[in-house]
């Protein structure tokens, strides 16, 4: 009997506690509550959080609550939520997700609202809008842009007698070899060579192939799509990057590193483990803040046809399920404003704002490279999911680095995977 009473009391207390916990966040009815979702570690984007707080304080009609879902899970999470009928009101997406989400009806079609109240200085002011469209309708507004450049330690280059940053891919390889001193554990080039979808190898592989005017997939001219590279093209790229490992310019541990933000790379450049690495702007700033000597940036090496990198970045979109599309649009416009970019450490996607931007010390490489950056538009328009191509590419390159396959075998397998995805 006693026992029973104890249990009943325990349960009663727990239920009460549950109600208290659950009831804590009731909202008032006359204020519109919006949820905004972003994907970076909160500690990195305190400026953005502060700007949003300011937005909340500046008016009393809309209250924005920020939530964070890590990038690695963000797409899957929204796909689940959106199709179930929920999700945040305004969300930050990667450029390459917009088409898939827009075409499956998960994002609001922004055509009408853009015509009625144009964002910023008009939609033509934005870079990368070609990725926001699907069937000629706009589903996302480019928010930030970035690209990758080579980040390096000027002091290490100088002491090795390298006076000019290498210009072509071949020079780059030779320089990296020269900068390596395996006895003391210094390596020429640190880059993410891991196997996972989302890893950085994909970008390097594309830069190399694009600079030879090759592309993994391309239109076949008859309204369909085909693989745009030959076995020899891919094997050549694989052989090129594999030489960094074979000639001791990169440590083999990098075959397990997927993210360019990995402490091994960021801290590696700061400590001088690597003379050169490969970073987008926020990562470069992080490395620079850890380094005791100034870091510098330089453009991506040139190929026989051109010098090229990808124009990446983030898009802002409105959830199709939102109950407050007008307020969501108002808040989205606030995020595009100059005031936000003063505190948010990313490059704005609006050319007018970008032109005003003061590039920080050592960031000239980004300013030089951005005009040579192209979007993944061609890949996105193809029926193959970009994440699938990304995954297959990184895996096959890593299988060469780890000695499982010859470049020829791996190239053949990669082309077969691409054909299967198309």
């Amino acid at each position: 009997m006693n026992m029973k009473r104890v249990w009943l009391i325990t349960i009663g207390l727990l239920v009460c506690a549950a109600m208290v916990f659950a009831g804590g966040t009731r909202q008032e009815s006359d204020v519109v509550q919006l949820t905004f979702r972003q994907g970076d570690p909160p500690a990195e984007v305190q400026g953005l959080f502060a700007a949003i707080e300011e937005f909340n304080a500046s008016q009393n009609r809309i209250r924005v609550v920020v939530e964070t879902v890590p990038w690695a899970d963000a797409l899957n999470q929204f796909v689940r939520e959106g199709q179930a009928g929920g999700g945040p009101d305004v969300l930050q997406l990667a450029f390459v997700w917009t088409k898939d989400l827009g075409s499956s009806g998960l994002l609001k079609n922004l055509d009408t609202i853009v015509r009625q109240s144009p964002p910023g200085a008009g939609i033509d002011d934005f870079l990368g809008t070609d990725l926001g469209f699907y069937n000629d309708s706009l589903f996302g507004i480019p928010w930030t842009v970035d690209t990758f450049v080579m980040a390096y330690r000027p002091d290490l280059l100088q002491s090795a007698g390298v006076n000019r940053f290498p210009d072509t891919w071949e020079e780059f390889l030779e320089t990296a070899v020269r900068l390596s001193d395996q006895g003391r554990g210094q390596y020429g080039f640190g880059f993410p060579a891991g196997s996972a979808s989302g890893g950085g190898m994909w970008f390097l592989a594309n830069y190399y192939l694009w600079s030879r005017d090759k592309s993994f997939v391309e239109p076949d001219g008859r309204g369909g799509w085909r693989v745009g590279v030959t076995e020899a093209d891919v094997a050549g790229a694989m052989r090129y990057f594999n030489q960094f490992f074979e000639r001791g310019a990169s440590p083999r541990s990098l075959i397990g590193v997927n993210s360019w933000g990995d402490p091994e790379l960021v801290g590696g450049l700061a400590r001088g483990d690597f003379a050169i690495s490969f970073f987008p702007p926020p990562t470069f700033r992080n490395a620079a803040s850890q380094s005791s000597v100034p870091l510098n940036t330089a453009m991506i090496p040139r190929g026989p046809s051109r010098r090229v990198s990808h124009l990446g970045g983030r898009v802002l979109a409105v959830n199709e399920n939102t109950r407050h599309p007008d307020e969501a649009w108002e808040f989205l416009n606030y995020l595009l404003s100059r005031g936000v970019f003063e505190r948010y450490t990313n490059f704005p996607a609006q050319e007018s704002l970008l032109a005003e931007l003061q590039f920080g010390p050592g960031e000239q490489g980004y300013a030089d490279q951005l005009p040579h950056a192209i979007t993944f538009k061609q890949y996105i328009e193809s029926p193959a999911p970009v994440s699938g191509m990304w995954d297959a590419t990184n895996r096959e390159f890593a299988s060469v680095y780890s000695g499982q396959k010859t470049p020829e075998q791996a190239a053949r397998d990669l082309i077969r995977s691409l054909q299967e995805l198309l």
């Binding site: 499956s104 996972a196 979808s197 083999r252 075959i255 397990g256 997927n258 890593a398």
Partner: protein, 318 residues
């Protein structure tokens, strides 16, 4: 008269109790059963339905096209599935299950030995054993990745210091060592469950059995072989089945430590499922892999029950 009334009362009480008992079992089991059905069986049926469709991750609301068993036919032709199956069965499951059972029994015997008891170390040893089990998987993998790092990892540095090797070994990226590394992480994290269960089994063996064996002049190895191990069979039987199933379906260890790499070298069925459904957006195909995995485990469990389990139950009864 009074006695008769009493008797009547007793019969009535028993009859009432019987009636109640007929309804009661369902009422008792119902909450658990309801949760089970809602949480496991309904989604599984949905999943089987999905596996018969060509459906993209983005098409859940619109629905896909019914393609019958196409996804399954494809699965049997897919060379990557073959590789993942071998990896799952041999490396992920068999090697680590055997290692855990063997090490678990050894550790449990050690901790339960009279020496440890004499030195009053039992509580301390049990506490140490529990540490890996409370470590979240994410932390466990991160810690091992960190320790196994070729240049900054403490294990490589120790070996270099001791002169065993001259350069750090990249355990998690070279094909010759990567599976061992994953197995070590997994065994480390999951060993306590086995060791503690076996320890529990050991402690429930009556002391008289040992005493009578000792009186009959049995040596320690003989006691171990003929008394202890046979009596551990029931607990090992059930633990073996459970950890086999849990490990076969496990996605976290491989995903967190290598993402199935280098290349596809350490892909297992669960990571292959994830890649197909969430990276290549082929939800139907991913679901088919899931159903295939469940099927294999059903088969395994049936065989296991027929052989290992029947035997232990019969032994118990005898």
């Amino acid at each position: 008269m009074a006695i008769q009334r009493d008797n009547e009362l007793v019969t009535q009480t028993i009859a009432r109790a019987r009636r109640r008992r007929a309804v009661r079992p369902f009422a008792l089991v119902l909450p658990g059963l309801a949760i089970l059905v809602a949480f496991f069986f309904i989604p599984s049926v949905y999943n089987i339905w999905t596996s018969l469709q060509e459906i993209s991750l983005f098409q859940i609301r619109r629905g896909g096209t019914f393609v019958g068993i196409d996804n399954y036919l494809r699965l049997f032709r897919d060379a990557r599935i073959g590789l993942a199956l071998v990896n799952t069965v041999w490396w992920l499951t068999f090697v680590t299950v055997v290692a855990r059972i063997v090490l678990g029994v050894v550790i449990a015997l050690l901790v339960n030995s009279s020496s440890i008891k004499r030195w009053r170390l039992s509580g301390f040893a049990r506490s140490c054993l529990l540490i890996p089990w409370v470590t979240p998987e994410v932390v466990a993998v991160a810690a091992w990745q960190w320790m196994l790092h070729p240049r900054f990892g403490v294990l490589n540095q120790m070996m270099i210091q001791a002169g065993v090797i001259s350069e750090g070994i990249p355990f998690l990226v070279q094909t010759s060592t990567v599976w061992f590394a994953i197995a070590v992480v997994l065994v480390w994290r999951e060993l306590p469950f086995v060791a503690i269960s076996v320890l529990a089994g050991l402690q429930s063996i009556p002391a008289e059995l040992y005493e009578s064996a000792a009186v009959e002049g049995a040596t320690k190895p003989q006691i171990l072989l003929h008394v202890t191990l046979p009596l551990l069979r029931p607990v090992l039987g059930i633990i073996g089945l459970l950890i086999t199933i849990w490990t076969f379906n496990n996605f976290l260890y491989v995903w967190l430590s290598t993402r199935g790499g280098p290349g596809n070298f350490t892909q297992v069925l669960a990571t292959e499922l994830y890649t197909q459904a969430f990276t290549n957006y082929r939800l139907g195909y991913g679901a088919a892999i899931g159903v295939f995995m469940t099927g294999l485990m059903v088969l395994f469990s049936l065989v296991y029950f027929r052989t290992v389990f029947r035997k232990t139950v019969e032994d118990e009864a005898r």
